[in-house]
């Protein structure tokens, strides 16, 4: 972590919480938790509300689909931390590791439905080029995705284009797979609150 305040600048109660997390999970506290718990009124609390709604709110997409979108946006940004974190969550949610790794390695040949594939292509363009036009959207609609599905996918895209930038800019420590598995279990049980 490039800012000392994000590593050790938390209040006493939050540090006690971190100690509890370490004791219960037997894993290091993920840097994302350090980030959202640092001066939480500024960023963590209001942003977690957005992310929870995008990832766990009512939607025609499943939780697994949305976690896959998060991992895919992270991969597109080249954010190693976020890609690992949300690959673990998506694999847990689908209970299908191959499906997730298939999408992340080659979207075009992956075994997924066309509306999801077209939506992911569009999210890749938004993420990589920062822009899309109406023709791009017509392609996604034509592949069978509804307006609601596209809007919900863009909400996921918003959250993870924010999160990935912060993970990379602040230099999140990339722990081993067990720490991400523990984080994934938590996110699937409790969401982003």
């Amino acid at each position: 972590m490039r800012l000392t305040i994000l590593d050790t600048g938390h209040g006493f109660g939050t540090k006690a919480l971190f100690a509890l997390i370490r004791a219960v999970s037997r894993q290091p506290v993920l840097d994302v938790i350090r980030l959202v718990r640092y001066r939480p009124d500024f960023y963590g609390k209001p942003m977690q509300r957005v992310t929870h709604e995008a990832m766990r709110g009512p939607s025609p997409w499943s939780v697994a689909d949305r976690e896959l979108m998060a991992a895919f946006v992270a991969k597109t940004n080249g954010s190693e931390w976020c890609t690992r974190a949300h690959t673990a969550v998506a694999q847990g949610a689908y209970r299908d590791e191959a499906k997730v790794s298939g999408v992340l390695s080659d979207l075009e040949t992956a075994a997924i439905e066309e509306p999801l594939r077209a939506t992911l292509r569009m999210l890749r363009k938004v993420t990589r080029e920062h822009t899309v036009d109406a023709d791009d959207m017509r392609v996604v609609l034509g592949a069978g995705a509804s307006r609601e599905q596209i809007e919900d996918a863009l909400a996921v895209c918003f959250s993870f284009n924010t999160m990935g930038r912060l993970a990379d800019a602040f230099g999140f420590f990339v722990p081993g797979p067990k720490a991400f598995e523990a984080g994934a279990k938590y996110l699937l049980a409790r969401g982003y609150r």
Partner: protein, 105 residues
């Protein structure tokens, strides 16, 4: 469907208009990725355009220019949310155009 409108409005209002250690003007400039002095502008531009390329040196240079860690924290958050906001709003506008046309047809 999920509804992030109110939540998104609240987070943007909080980071740009609420209390903070960085000035309101600098937070707005970081959000817009425009109008900051060096070396901060380079850091903010990287956060917006290619955050994976941010280095320890970029953060060290911002600190050396006199910014506190809390100010850097706030400005980087503003830059990240600002870029994600532009992406999101551009995409929603494109979707509006596409769905209006579809309805007419």
């Amino acid at each position: 469907m999920s509804d992030i409108r109110e939540g998104r409005r609240a987070v943007v209002a909080r980071i740009l208009e609420g209390d903070g250690r960085a000035s309101h003007a600098d937070r707005r400039a970081a959000f817009d990725n425009a109008g900051l002095g060096e070396p901060l502008q380079s850091l903010i531009d990287k956060v917006a355009k290619s955050a994976r390329d941010v280095t320890d040196e970029d953060i060290a240079a911002a600190k050396k220019s006199g910014l506190s860690e809390d100010q850097i924290f706030e400005l980087v958050v503003c830059a990240a949310i600002g870029q994600a906001t532009r992406q999101y709003e551009t995409a929603l506008a494109a979707l509006d155009v596409a769905t209006k046309k579809t309805e007419k047809e």
